[in-house]
């Protein structure tokens, strides 16, 4: 993987897991700002269902690390109410599947209070937790959840792909004045990477990053799909096809410029997403690329998406549900040879 363009230059790097990077971000922000607190199911005594909040209760005590009953709408509403009057809650969804129970609070309260009050009340809340396909958790516990949020004016939506992003984007989200939906992934928590020590290291929301430079095809992908795209890129290298991989990192607001910039160079684009394809993130990305770079495209933008089905439990079906390296390879080859070249 190429170095991130936004990585700070003079900072010390530590190697840690994605989970530890999130944990570090939380700790740093809680030290920095007493208004920041963490609330959710099992975040305290149990130290998080996925251990993202490990050690926080011990370090910050029960005033700032609050275990809740199972009442997603209730405790999300508590977070929003607290944010209205100036606190900075970080609400953990044990998994984002359960955020549907709080969706009214998120969409009709958090996202709209600033607007409806003419800017009097803003809602600086972060709602975070894992989402997306996980291992054999089946239909109710394994699904891409971002589609319920990125359409909504008033929300910001983040999907951090690397440990470094996990830290830098979570810190920016906590400091943001607006509601931020921050969707991690169970399948990435154990992944290791370099993370700056600097407690002021931030990655601004709304900036995409070029993960790998290339000249022939732009592949846009995030989270697990980004890593599959990198694998596909390595393989295509051998065939002499040079892939540029762009990771949006923030889905709302979307950094269209970086993506368009890359497509202007490569003239071909493939968008990969794990979720069911119909009207997903890929549709939007394909649309704005086509609108803004139509005359420079040598082939229609290809969407590689998960199958249009709920997530099955059986291992083999589950494997078939989500895009593989092979489906990415096939799509890239289509945009390369269908047209132009």
């Amino acid at each position: 993987m190429k170095a991130q363009k936004t990585a700070p230059v003079r900072t010390e790097m530590a190697v840690m897991t994605y989970r530890e990077a999130l944990n570090l971000a939380l700790r740093e922000e809680m030290h920095r700002d007493d208004r920041v607190f963490v609330i959710g199911e099992e975040v305290g005594l149990y130290e998080g269902a996925y251990k993202v909040t490990q050690g926080l209760l011990k370090e910050f005590g029960p005033r700032r690390v609050i275990d809740t009953p199972i009442a997603e709408s209730g405790f999300t509403g508590v977070g929003i109410g607290a944010a209205m009057v100036g606190l900075r809650p970080v609400v953990e969804m044990m998994t984002f599947n359960f955020a549907l129970l709080a969706l009214d609070q998120i969409v009709n309260s958090a996202a709209k209070l600033c607007y409806m009050s003419g800017g009097q009340y803003n809602v600086p809340i972060v709602i975070r937790g894992p989402g997306g396909p996980a291992h054999q958790l089946a239909a109710q516990h394994s699904q891409s959840m971002e589609s319920y949020f990125y359409h909504v004016p008033g929300l910001k939506v983040v999907r951090p792909t690397t440990p470094m992003d996990a830290k830098g984007l979570l810190k920016s989200s906590i400091r943001d004045e607006n509601p931020v939906i921050f969707i991690e992934s169970e399948t990435l928590y154990a992944m290791k990477g370099e993370v700056p020590d600097d407690p002021d290291f931030l990655i601004p929301l709304g900036q995409a990053v070029v993960r790998r430079e290339g000249t022939d095809v732009t592949v846009i992908a995030y989270m697990g799909m980004m890593y599959r795209a990198l694998e596909a890129a390595e393989e295509l290298d051998k065939e002499g096809i040079s892939i540029e991989v762009v990771d949006p990192r923030t889905l709302r607001p979307m950094d269209t410029e970086t993506i368009i910039g890359s497509v202007r160079k490569t003239h071909r684009a493939v968008v990969v997403e794990a979720g069911a394809g119909f009207a997903g993130m890929g549709s939007e990305i394909a649309s704005f690329i086509t609108e803004q770079a139509f005359d420079e495209l040598d082939a229609p933008v290809e969407r590689v998406t998960g199958a249009n089905a709920p997530m099955p439990y059986a291992r083999n079906l589950e494997r078939a549900k989500t895009p593989s390296k092979e489906t990415i390879l096939a799509a890239v080859r289509r945009v390369c040879y269908a047209n132009g070249d």
Binding site: A71, G77, V85, C114, G118, G119, Y121
Partner: protein, 352 residues
Amino acid sequence: MAQKTLKQPAPSASGVDSDLAKRLLRDMMLVRRFEEKAAEAYALGKIGGFLHLSIGEEAVAAGATSVLRRDDYSISTYREHGHCLVKGSDPRRVMAELFGRRDGLSKGKGGSMHLFDKTVNFLGGHAIVGAHLPLAAGVGFAIQYRGGDQVVVCYFGDGAVPEGEFHEALNLSSLWKLPVIFLCENNRYAMGTSLERALAETEIWKFGRAYNIPCEPVDGMDVLAVRDVAARAVERARTEHTPTLIEARTYRFRGHSMRDPAGAVYRTKEEVEREKLRDPIVLFRNRALESRWLTDADVRAIEKDVNDVIDEAVAFADASPEPPVEWLLTDIYKEGAENRAREGAENRAREN
């Protein structure tokens, strides 16, 4: 209107004096007059959308708010003109909001259902039934987090009780000992649905027992009774961080909204007429005169003052211009130019 000194204890609900009587009567009459004028403006097309009047229910807002400090919070539903006005909001800016004008509390973006006023800690104006109960708990949480001694009053209708969020908010507030007064304005109907058709337990205050919190019913047409029960709840919340569930039994004299003609389908004319005999303003005015808290002249002075204030509010709202069209795209996010530039990009398709 609300007390200005923060540390002064809430006045006792007994021992009514002339000042207090004036305030309570004025608050109720102000709300009544405001809404009568709003109804007229609605008929003239100056107010759009939904308009929900609290006429008949003014004693709840006036009584409860009279024991609050200015730095206490209140939060409400879409039937919130009264709650907002008695908390201390400028009637002119409230009316301008209903008219959808730039000088409205929310710059005209919220309307009648979404009044907010940060200057008096009025937290809205929420139109999803039940959704603001968890928000109230969150405000209570923040007060506790900061070690403050404020309280939050959360007004809601009987219709919110069957919603899951009622249960979640009460459980969390009890469990965490949050200084929230859940004040149910039980007007016996949620739109056209009577209590009996909505709840397995129609004595709403009894739900408080399930969560082990203090709870009681009160005659919501009696402003002093409301004041009394609210004073005790506020005291408990301030000193012991104990939430309370109060069921104020009241009645709306008008239809559910201006689109619901007096509600003849689901209740009888006789019932409405009978309830109007309990008009909280008439009841309290008579009592105040009888008890010599007020003279006839006092009442006339209040009446005139209220009429003037509301006339001025209407004139102000009428004179206020529409919000500039660029405001469509402001206040979506709280942030500087960078963010607005992005929103702008997303709106490209519309703008050119």
